[in-house]
Symmetry: C2
Subunit: 213 residues, 2 copies
């Protein structure tokens, strides 16, 4: 399967929408849906039908006019393309409040992500539980990443140490980091970094309502 | 001050970058920076100098060639344009793990957001503390929103009730919701909704590393 060649050219915003299509399809399937048109899929996500058809065409899914997509098979294909058809192990670095919340966040296991280890440096935290896991010292991280072939990490440390931790994760062989620390991480090329900047999101929202007034 | 006319036309990605410039400038100021060039600002955020100059030109800030921007005054202008120069009150609905983490998240007060009330429906949670606040029943929410003229809310309920809560917030007069619940909220026009879909972010990251292989 030439997945790499096939998927490399999908632009990031389309990938984001694919995750939304899958999420919406899972809800519809849970309610017993059979077929769905691109228009129905689009409306629920405030997009256009043309946009949906274009996105799905990236991996050769074409609905038929007046018939639409078979929901279960489309969901199956999306799961496969997004890697959600298999469980992916993740680790967490930074066992503060946000780390704790993410460790219990049901959305991750629902999408096939399994938290297998959590790390911190604070002697007060090491040995304590976070969800069902025992918090370990960050110095144990490289061995565990290697042993379990971990590719994804959640970074929830304070901003002041985020870069240092990212470097350690990079060195240990982690391939992608989802960072919740403010500030841009400087990383080597093969490492992918996604950022969730909560305060920036809130600030953008505040700006958008202020500019309506 | 014709702020509405002036800011309305700034595209959302530029607003997002403005929040990043401000964040970075605050860090530099804390370290005693005086002047900064658009190139320095750009490099630290992995953008181009031209992009930075274009973004700052939206509100009439022009650095001088070879001189750059005066960091303190640029930060001041960004704070004003983003509304970060004054404290904005926010409320939180959904006092689960994520709500708890957000209530303690230091990034919000650092950017001028003050959490003034937290709500839930669970009898187990009402009356308990979340940070320094006492969790109240959601039925108290409309009176508090009105009394304190609250315009922004964080929504951290389960996805199943998110739409219902969003409708209640809308009705109460809240103007912007930052939702952490998966799924798209259908809201009336004047209400602005930002969404932080943690699982979707992780899935996009996983996709991006898979497609490199």
């Amino acid at each position: 399967m030439e997945k790499s060649r096939m998927t490399k050219s999908i632009p990031a915003p389309a990938v984001r929408r694919l995750t939304l299509y899958l999420q919406h399809l899972e809800e519809l399937l849970a309610r017993g849906a059979g077929r769905i048109s691109s228009r129905e899929l689009a409306e629920s996500l405030q997009l256009t039908g043309a946009q949906v058809r274009r996105d799905l065409a990236y991996f050769g899914q074409f609905g038929r006019r007046g018939v639409g997509y078979e929901a279960a098979s489309l969901a199956g294909n999306l799961r496969e393309i997004l890697g959600a058809d298999k469980t992916q192990s993740i680790i967490l670095v930074g066992a503060g409040d946000l780390g704790r919340a993410l460790a219990r966040y049901r959305g991750f296991p629902q999408r096939g992500f399994k938290l297998v280890a959590a790390f911190d440096v604070s002697p007060k935290k090491i040995g304590k539980k976070i969800g069902s896991l025992t918090i370990q010292h960050i110095r144990e991280m490289p061995a565990i990443v290697k042993r379990d072939n971990i590719r994804l990490a959640l970074l929830t440390t304070p901003a002041t140490v985020a870069q240092e931790v990212a470097d350690q994760l990079d060195l240990a062989g982690v391939r992608g980091i989802l960072s919740f620390a403010p500030g841009v991480l400087q990383t080597s090329k093969p490492l992918a970094v996604g950022q969730v900047d909560l305060a920036s999101n809130l600030q953008q929202l505040a700006f958008s309502i202020a500019s309506e007034e």
